[in-house]
């Protein structure tokens, strides 16, 4: 296990290095830099003036030099300065991470706490009216875009309650915070919950047909014991993988949800930074997101071993 962990750790480093090269190169392949954007915004086309700004921001240096400077800074905890706000990138990124973390955490909690039990229920009550209803709900969750669902929720709130659950200032206290984030979390988590529900259902159905389940029933085990002790534990393995993948995938949904609910988290900030070609923000944020995704995958692998005693890492 120890050797495996060390190997995985080095693989993680290699993956992050690959991502850093990729994001750095891609950002510079995309047409235009911050100088182009700010000059275009002002309708200015003076090449000399633009070159001056590029020099000021160090964008005139060879890409390799810029890359080494960035990695060197990153290794020393210096993330550089945002081109737009002219503040340290860390100061811009750090306060936004907890906001997105809360939203993502709640969304995942919503997805799992809804998806797994309903998936089990759907499998256990296969082909019943309840199963059909749950399958329709899960299908609608998969086919409904998060932005559309978000807007529907906002319109419903304005129409029926005369208020709108969007972020306009930082919430005070736990309950206010929960109230503010719960609705967008449900909007973004609905799709994941649908996916988890469907996967749990099919995985459970497969396990419920296994011989050892029949044996357990023959030995007089109760339905609850068979379903939740024997079947679910085995059925949940692929579900854990998908939950891990969904946690990383949530970022895409969060970009839309943060925009619709006006939440100033990292996902929306990342899009804005890309629009401005604010390289220090984009590079560091992508690296952070990549780190989180890689770490989650790593945790899922470790969790596998504890859930399934047959799995041995060496």
């Amino acid at each position: 296990m120890g050797t495996y962990l060390i190997r995985r750790f080095f693989l993680m480093l290699l993956t992050l290095f690959g991502i850093s090269v990729l994001i750095f190169t891609l950002l510079r392949i995309v047409p235009g830099n911050i100088a182009d954007i700010v000059f275009n915004a002002a309708g200015m086309i003076d090449v000399a003036e633009k070159a001056k700004l590029e020099r000021e921001l160090g964008l005139d240096q060879p890409i390799a030099v810029q890359y080494v400077q960035w990695i060197n800074g990153l290794a020393h905890g210096d993330l550089g300065y945002s081109y737009v706000s002219e503040k340290p990138a860390l100061q811009e990124i750090a306060p936004r991470i907890p906001i997105t973390a809360k939203l993502a955490g709640l969304a995942l909690l919503f997805a799992v706490s809804l998806g797994v039990p309903l998936g089990v229920l759907s499998a256990v009550k296969q082909n019943s009216a309840l199963d059909y209803v749950l399958r329709v709900i899960s299908l609608s969750g998969l086919s409904m875009p998060a932005f559309w669902l978000g807007l529907l929720i906002l319109m419903g709130f304005v129409k029926f309650f005369g208020t709108i659950p969007i972020y306009t200032r930082p919430p005070e206290g736990f309950w206010n915070s929960l109230a503010l984030f719960a609705i967008p979390a449900a909007a973004v988590g609905f799709r994941s919950s649908a996916l988890i529900m469907r996967l749990t259902r099919s995985s459970m159905l497969e396990v419920l047909r296994q011989d050892y389940i029949r044996t357990a029933r023959a030995k007089g085990a109760t339905d609850a014991n068979v379903n939740y002790h024997h079947a679910l534990r085995n059925a949940v393995l692929p579900v854990v993988t998908v939950i891990g993948l969904e946690a990383a995938f949530l970022m895409g949904g969060l970009i839309v949800t943060e925009t619709v609910f006006n939440i100033p988290g990292v996902a929306r900030f990342l899009v804005e930074a890309i629009r401005w070609r604010d390289y220090p923000i984009v590079q560091n944020l992508v690296m952070f997101i990549a780190f989180v995704a890689v770490a989650i995958n790593f945790l899922v692998d470790v969790l596998y071993a504890s859930l399934d005693p047959r799995i041995k890492y060496s």
């Binding site: 275009n40 086309i45 304005v158």
Partner: protein, 529 residues
């Protein structure tokens, strides 16, 4: 009967008292406005978008400013701001401003004539400190020197008489900056003399301003502060307004369709729509064959059906005009009777007939159309009219394809002449011929994207610019505008209108109707709640 009369009288009296009370400005409260995006900075001089002017204008003062409650900006609506008075020298080659005494910057430093000199030095690039971007430097080329006479008098010396200079100084784009605050700081933590002080600017989140208790205009501002919540998604922003999360929408953001939607959900909302002095125009690369042929360019101008374009894009809320915004809102634009005489502004069917004849003469037909690309910025406000334009060009045997250009590359592409035909939007900070002509049509001007150059006409630009008789100048401006349209310098497709909504308790709100850049001081806005 008597009891009924007394009751009625009491109701009338109560209503009168209530009306009188509501007419009396109240101090206090924070005005909440949504902002459509994170502005690039808060340094007005360095930017060219009202995304900056709206939140930043309350931070500053000008020497003189357009009256904030007269919708139409004109020479007659310029009022004092930091200058108590101003006078033009007998030779019209200088303007002297007497400054208000006792004005302080937000950091407590006194405002003096040196700050005025520093501001113009910065704009003209003469000082030690420099702007990162200086988009309106050319507007002040006529100033040769700025001299001070003591702490409270300053004189601008000019190369030639220029009545319009005062109009440029009155624009929301020309606030005074201090000598002691670096230009770089003004982008992120501005220090002004205005009615509100800067508190905080969080990217993608909010901009907060608080009341300046030492504001030199006694009793103002009425508000305790202004808070801009950045809501980039327009649907969310409009719903936030309807739900009362904000008191006002972002200026210019409301289309007539959105206003209808808002009014259906909140009938008490006050909404107004007005021209914003932004024209949609056709740019043709006159150096690239076959567009170097004036006949072809003329045919293109003759193909335009401006009314249908306005109906499609703005649901009828737009104006047909020449280079300058048409009357009644526009001060200098060609009046309808004169506009009708310009080629391409008459009967669309006849004009297109004429255009097809030209195209046939040039060897094109329905079977053998001219294939071109219409380049434009890949954002809806550009793309949508470009699509309509493509449809209209088809009527004269031009088979055009849309070439959407990544926004950051648009002006660079135009500057490289790397386009055949394009569609562009031009915003005017002030309704003034000097700004419009020199900026967009003068030979060698940075924003003269089509490289139109007519030395004879440029001489007329100068002639109108020095003319002090308003009526004479107006006639000269009309003649120039007609000539620009006839030369197909940059055919104007339409002038946009857009709107603003606010809650009925927001008082003293006035929308400027010939500029979208000058009406955001907000010093006497108050909340009746």
């Amino acid at each position: 009967m008597a009891a009924k009369f007394i009751a009625l009288a009491a109701v009338v009296l109560a209503a009168t008292v209530s009306a009188a009370q509501s007419a009396e400005p109240k101090s206090g409260g924070v005005l909440h406005i949504y902002h459509r995006e994170t502005p690039p900075s808060l340094s007005i001089h360095e930017e060219a978008t009202f995304s900056v002017n709206v939140p930043a204008m309350p931070l500053y003062n000008n020497l003189v400013v357009y009256d904030q409650h007269k919708p139409q900006n004109s020479m007659g609506t310029i009022v004092r701001d930091l200058a108590d008075s101003w006078s033009t020298g007998s030779d019209n080659l200088s303007i002297t401003f007497k400054l208000h005494q006792g004005v302080k910057w937000h950091d407590g430093q006194p405002f003096t004539s040196k700050d005025v000199k520093c501001t113009f030095d910065l704009i003209q690039g003469k000082g030690q400190d420099k702007f990162r971007k200086n988009p309106r430097k050319d507007l002040f080329n006529n100033i040769t020197e700025v001299t001070t006479n003591g702490d409270y008098e300053v004189t601008l010396h000019l190369k030639r008489p220029q009545p319009s200079l005062i109009a440029m100084i009155a624009s929301g784009y020309t606030p005074m900056y201090s000598c002691h605050v670096p230009a770089a700081q003004m982008r992120t933590h501005p220090i002004g003399t205005g009615p509100f002080k800067f508190v905080e600017f969080k990217q993608n989140e909010s901009i907060k301003l608080e009341k300046n208790p030492d504001y030199f205009k006694k009793g103002l501002p009425y508000l305790d502060g202004i808070e801009f919540t950045i809501i980039t998604n327009r649907a969310t922003a409009v719903l936030a307004f309807v739900a009362g999360k904000v008191d006002m929408t972002f200026p210019t953001e409301m289309t007539s369709a959105l206003i209808k939607d808002v009014k259906s959900q909140d009938p008490t909302a006050v909404c107004e729509i007005a021209p914003i002095n932004v024209s949609t125009n056709l740019i043709v690369n006159r150096e690239s064959p076959p567009f170097d042929n004036i006949e072809l360019r003329k045919a293109m101008a003759l193909s335009l059906d401006r009314k249908s374009m306005i109906d499609i894009i703005f649901q009828g809320q737009g104006d047909i005009g020449g280079t300058l915004l048409p009357p009644p809102e526009g001060v200098w634009g060609l009046p309808p009777d004169q506009l009708k005489t310009v080629a391409g502004y008459g009967d669309v069917a006849k004009d297109r007939e004429q255009a097809r004849a030209i195209m046939t003469k040039l060897g094109y037909s329905a079977d053998k159309p001219l294939k071109i690309k219409v380049a434009t910025r890949n954002i809806a406000t550009y793309r949508d009219p470009a699509a309509v334009l493509i449809d209209q060009l088809k009527t004269i045997y031009i088979d055009a394809e849309l070439d959407p250009v990544e926004s950051s590359q648009w002006f660079a592409k135009v500057a490289r002449n790397d386009y055949q035909v394009g569609l562009n939007l031009t915003g005017n900070g002030i309704d003034d011929p000097d700004q419009a002509f020199y900026e967009n049509y003068a030979c060698g001007s940075e924003r003269n994207y089509t490289h139109y150059c007519n030395k004879d006409l440029e001489a007329l630009f100068d002639k109108q610019s020095v003319e002090t008789d308003l009526a004479k100048r107006k006639q000269m401006v009309w003649d120039i505008d007609k000539k620009l349209q006839e030369d197909v310098a940059r055919p104007i497709l339409m002038h946009a209108r857009s709107g603003l909504c606010w809650k009925p308790y927001v008082k003293n709100m006035t929308i400027m109707n010939n500029s979208a850049y000058n009406g955001y001081r907000y010093e006497d806005i108050w909340l009746d709640k």
